[in-house]
Symmetry: C2
Subunit: 329 residues, 2 copies
């Protein structure tokens, strides 16, 4: 099989020129182009895909930092980012921060060392020095920043909606599972729920949880019903925790939603497969990932950006862990 070198020799040009012709980039004189094309035909040359790609321009790299890809909310976000980047010929260096400041710093540093042209980060601290010091565009995803580009859902409103739905569907002794205290979206949801419960003067208890991990969620679910056996409405910090609560309710022989209502947060794909299926607050994770990637690409390419802080609204998804009410109820 002919090589690109043989094509170059036959055409009497350099390998780089043959590459320019093959990849249709850079200037090549018409006569030269014809010579190369003749040589390709004459030698019946088929460019080896791998070798050929080496002459193409490198894909640009983006750093993507998410808390934990095994939390079922994040694969949707990641997939949205990846699809948008892939279609625009950017590639992702990916890391899990575990919401740890140190891991986050390490990742951002190695992103820079590897010449990323932009960063998407789900950080709890957009104002950290590490971001202020970067001279490449950064978009915060699933996290708010006052004055920097960010794409996020309205967690506080989500918390408010969950509390309102819980109350109008008849729960009187509500327990709010407060998510990790250093995770911004968890704080927002919690504050939104509590705001409404106080406003409506509904008694509530709070159980503090320290992670979104499923293993730990099972322990919290046990603790919840042990401490507050009479609770009749549970606002969970996310769908994973809600699932664990639902299972513990089953184990204790409580009927859902008759004895106790449960509302999750996220609307992960499996929430509708639970039995009863989980009522939850939907955030459009995939679309948010796409939007963040699109915004970052606009910033990298120096386009004018109309809105650099994009808040997605959330909505209540009524399924079977909440009781039915008249819609004008």
């Amino acid at each position: 099989m002919a090589t690109i070198k043989e094509v170059a020799m036959t055409a009497g040009v350099s390998v780089a020129t043959v590459s320019r012709v093959l990849n249709q980039n850079g200037y090549v004189h018409e006569d030269t182009r014809r010579k190369v094309e003749d040589a390709i035909r004459q030698l019946n040359y088929t460019p080896n895909e791998v070798a050929r790609s080496l002459y193409k321009r490198k894909s640009k790299l983006i750093g993507l930092l998410l808390p934990d890809i095994t939390n079922p909310y994040f694969p949707q976000l990641a997939r949205g980012v990846e699809d948008q980047m892939q279609e625009n010929d950017y590639r992702l260096i990916f890391g899990n921060s575990d919401e740890s400041r140190q891991k986050e710093m390490d990742y951002i540093q190695t992103f820079i060392q590897n010449n990323v042209v932009g960063v998407i980060s789900s950080t709890n601290d957009p104002d950290a020095d590490i971001y202020a010091g970067l001279n490449i565009p950064v978009v915060f995803l699933d996290r708010t920043s006052n004055d920097r580009p960010s794409v996020y859902a309205d967690g506080r409103e989500g918390g408010r909606i969950a509390a309102r739905e819980m109350v109008r569907r008849g729960s009187k002794q509500i327990t709010v599972l407060q998510g990790p205290a250093h995770v911004r979206p968890a704080i927002d949801r919690f504050e939104g729920a509590v705001e409404i419960l106080q406003e409506l003067n509904i008694p509530y208890e709070v159980l503090l949880t320290t992670s979104f991990s499923l293993t730990e969620a099972e322990d919290w679910a046990k603790e919840l019903f042990y401490k507050y056996p009479d609770t009749d409405g549970i606002i969970a910090s996310n769908d994973m925790v809600a699932s664990a609560v639902l299972q513990e309710a089953h184990r204790l022989g409580k009927r859902v939603p008759e004895d106790v209502q449960i509302i999750g947060f996220d609307d992960i794909p499996l929430s509708k497969l639970l039995a009863p299926s989980l009522s939850t607050i939907h955030q459009p994770a995939y679309e948010m990932g796409r939007e963040a990637a699109d915004l970052l690409i606009q910033l990298i390419e120096g386009h004018h950006v109309e809105r650099n802080s994009i808040q997605y609204s959330v909505k209540f998804i009524e399924r079977q862990t909440t009781r039915k009410v008249d819609h004008d109820g």
Copy 2:
């Protein structure tokens, strides 16, 4: 605040020398080191973490190609790979192939362009030219290769186990959901199940599915009970599909496991949260990810590798979608 340049000027050395002292790499004469340290103290210099990192050696990049991170089996694999790589100071460029040959080729090419030092790929075609042509180490993950490094679970045995458990728990009209025909682990599972059903002379039906997508799984679940209303045992191609089948069984008022038994595959984290919880074939995804990363690092670093094809065994996880039997039954 003092800069590294001022330190260099004060010490009468180059910036590179200051950097070597700060990062404790490369040779620096003892006298020079002392001069630099004096200048650092004198100017009260604190190295800026970001700037400082620029002098450090780049983290090496690895390409990781998985079919689809939104399939809940893959985040576990990815997390295992990432943890092992992160601890060893490698970074991941990540892509979803969607089991598409073209996307896979594109990703492998861009991995190479971005100078990855190794690749981990869940491909259906380890013998493809694109892999043969690479002169960096490649480990196939979740996929078998006869003569190349790979880490995978024994899918065929998994299929056999599922069929045996289904039969000894009393199902007489079994339906096997055959996963996508071009996805190697799906073929293995299917063939293993059919092998045992034929051996035991048990009648069975086959329903072909073409992806692992949850949306489509719901359609197949409907088709399944429409075509084979009397089926009393379903071997699903993975837990996502099994979950959709379970939900459809609920919708039709079938009792699980009394009327119909269901066995999934993968043991994704949420399978135990379903109601009834899902009996399934467990594969140790996180450990497999770690192992593949470890194997790749050994190969990259030129260490002697004892076993370069590592098969994990799978096991039956008895939960509530299968009927109880005596253990000596």
